[in-house]
Symmetry: C2
Subunit: 439 residues, 2 copies
């Protein structure tokens, strides 16, 4: 499908729009030129454009907001959920943000201002105010009437939130029970008081863990005195899980989470080069270590070929441990007791895996160079470096977590610095000690 062709007339584009889901359009427009976007904004009704806007990521939301004037934007907001409006407004320059807020009704302005005050990646930042709260004193028939009225404007109706006279969350009602209950019973009589909730400042990753663990379809957000502020729905949780994992995968490799296969050359350079420069600094650390032993290598040049095996294997073994930790830390806390047990295990594992791979290496090296001591040194260095790899692979993510940093951030650079520098140091150091036996 050629989008230029589709956008050449309003009729063609509307026919196309009807044939797909707004999420399909939202997924595409990141690749459009500004004039294509301009055309789409002109063709679509407020309601349809609002739907596309709701489905978009931040970048595309900014692009669309840039194509329409304040009048239109306010009209679009009338068709959107409050949390999406707050997200959109949060992206705009302060002057435009204020201008738009001033055009809203006092009620809307209050809600949006409240939503905007929470950090973007907190429970408050991702919650919606489109939920149904039932007073516990309502009768079942009154509750059903309320659901009929406001249900169409809410994101979840399967679970209804029950509040007392102080607007405090006291429990939930399953719509199944409500439909089956006698009409004159009270909501209180079918309320389930076991309800898992979060405070607005809780990190979105923690909210996602709760939702995943307890198979929730929504989770209420309450303030310190238990008053309900909003709910977080499972579709937003899916976005959180995907974002956090994407971040982990990319950050371990030193890539910005903003980058994708479609990122332009200039952007890719801007995002990747700084990380490569940092890596270069650590590569020089490893290089200096080798240079320290230059006179040893001069006498036994075989060392230069064998040392790369020791350093490389350390990097591989350490990455195994590190990946497991980054994964585990994304799901759960790791307790001190667990960490200590894991540290002992990693040391033993380093010894055993190091001895196994070291022995194979020693045998092959013996056949290549015919020197028993060179083989012995490789074996010892391999054990040493795999123990180091296990220790650093475990401690780097744990330390980053303790410092409240993402365990994935830059963990690979610390790790390879350790396994390269120490790997070369142990191997070439041992070679220097045994130099008489090697030459």
């Amino acid at each position: 499908m050629d989008i230029k062709e589709v956008l050449s007339s309003k009729e063609k584009f509307l026919a196309y729009y009807e044939s797909v889901h707004p999420a399909d359009i939202a997924a595409e427009i990141g690749e459009w030129e500004p004039e294509d976007l301009q055309k789409m904004c002109t063709y679509l009704s407020d309601e349809d454009l609002a739907e596309v806007l709701e489905q978009c990521d931040d970048d595309e939301r900014e692009d669309i907001a840039g194509q329409v004037d304040d009048d239109r934007l306010v009209r679009l907001f009338e068709h959107m959920q409050k949390d999406d409006i707050a997200d959109c407004i949060g992206l705009l320059p302060t002057a435009r943000k204020k201008a738009l807020m001033n055009r809203m009704t006092a009620d809307d302005r209050r809600v949006i201002a409240k939503l905007l005050q929470y950090p973007e990646e907190s429970a408050g930042g991702i919650m919606t105010t489109a939920y149904i709260a039932l007073k516990e004193t309502l009768s079942i028939s009154q509750a059903l009437q309320k659901i009929r009225e406001i249900g169409p404007k809410t994101e979840v109706i399967e679970t209804l939130y029950v509040i007392n006279v102080h607007r405090q969350l006291v429990g939930t009602v399953d719509l199944r029970d409500l439909l089956a209950a006698p009409k004159d019973a009270t909501v209180q009589s079918i309320t389930d008081n076991d309800v898992i909730s979060v405070h607005p400042e809780v990190d979105q990753e923690e909210v996602a863990s709760l939702v995943a663990k307890y198979d929730l379809k929504s989770i209420p957000v309450v303030n310190a005195r238990s008053a309900i502020l909003g709910i977080i729905t499972v579709d937003d949780i899916i976005d959180v899980i995907i974002d956090e994992y994407d971040e982990d995968i990319l950050q371990m490799a030193g890539v910005s989470k903003e980058e994708s296969i479609d990122t332009t050359l200039g952007e890719s350079i801007r995002m990747r080069l700084p990380w490569l420069m940092i890596n270069l600094a650590t590569a020089f650390l490893a290089s200096f270590t080798v240079k320290m032993f230059q006179s040893t290598i001069e006498q036994v040049v075989a060392l230069s070929a064998v040392m790369t095996i020791v350093s490389g294997m350390g990097g591989n073994a350490g990455t195994q441990t590190m990946s497991i930790l980054v994964r585990d830390l994304s799901h759960d806390e790791v307790h001190t007791k667990q960490a200590v047990r894991a540290l002992i295990k990693e040391i033993l594992l380093g010894i055993i895996d190091g001895a196994s791979t070291g022995l194979v290496t020693a045998v092959i090296v013996y056949f290549m160079y015919g020197n028993f001591y060179l083989s012995l040194i490789v074996l010892l260095a391999m054990i040493g470096n795999l123990v180091i790899a296990g220790i650093f692979g475990l401690l780097i993510p744990l330390t980053l977590k303790k410092l409240n940093a993402d365990p994935a951030i830059a963990s690979s650079i610390f790790l390879t610095t350790a396994t390269d520098v120490l790997g070369f140091f142990i191997f070439l150091g041992l070679a220097t000690v045994f130099l008489q036996k090697l030459v």
Copy 2:
């Protein structure tokens, strides 16, 4: 909390059970001893134990099934959803599987047998049969009556599935609309015919992409003639997303997805050592490359310190590209046009990033060794290796995807083999050519 203490009497354990969520118990029992599990199974009622069983992962399900006899297991199944029963039965040895199936009613046996026939990681393997299908000819009041009756046994009631006389899925009804519609209207009049569905053989990862993209709370599974077979609910999709990402993070590093911080030493060795042995083979490839140039290094020993910078930087740059691809491929297809554009970009990026880091390296190397030609060689080799890194970082995941393998599997090993071997080859090869200028 000391679990041994809690399990010391039935009263204590039941009090504890009441104070937590079954999912909390399920998350714990992986670390219990068999006798603890035995005690729990004795203490809990069929209904409660069934709930724990539903919340468990495969390993713990097997453990629990091992602690109870067939009689008890059949009684537990009476409290469980059909898809969970099928998952449990699928884990058991064939003989026990048959014995259990024979005790079921013919109806149940038919449903379970059908669910068991789909691969575990397909749409059919994760679907549930606990949904509400409404005939389109029903009146609203008949539909409401049906929802009241079977709603409590279903996983989703917010979306109801509408079928025609041939049991073909024709659309969905939103419960909000049903509650608001006049009692004597037909279901057909409020049916939304735009419904996204999947076939049972579709891979679970693809299903997860659809659910995430279109913000679905459930997705119906239909056969080739559009008859509805089941639905997949969003909580199962979250599990799929988490599993697939965990797999990606760990497989890139050559770790089994089964491993966690709590895995025993023996298991860790069994799971990690084979991968390290494969890595060792490729490390020798790099080592052989260096050995090929031994006489060059013998004459210019500085090369041994500088060559590690070139190979290391190639690995880093390639990992950046590879991570972006693995991430992108987990969300979407990459089209040939996109791939070609990306390949050209990666080559240019390799040249620019290689020239930038290479220039810095060349300057530092000049200050260290005072040889202009050595600096020139480092610069050229860095550009060459970063271009190679970009090409392999892009093509390895794409090729694995084309071969229908997971793009994350073993991608790092192919990549570092390429960047190490070719990095050493380019650098030491250039050094050999310019040898007269270096000594």
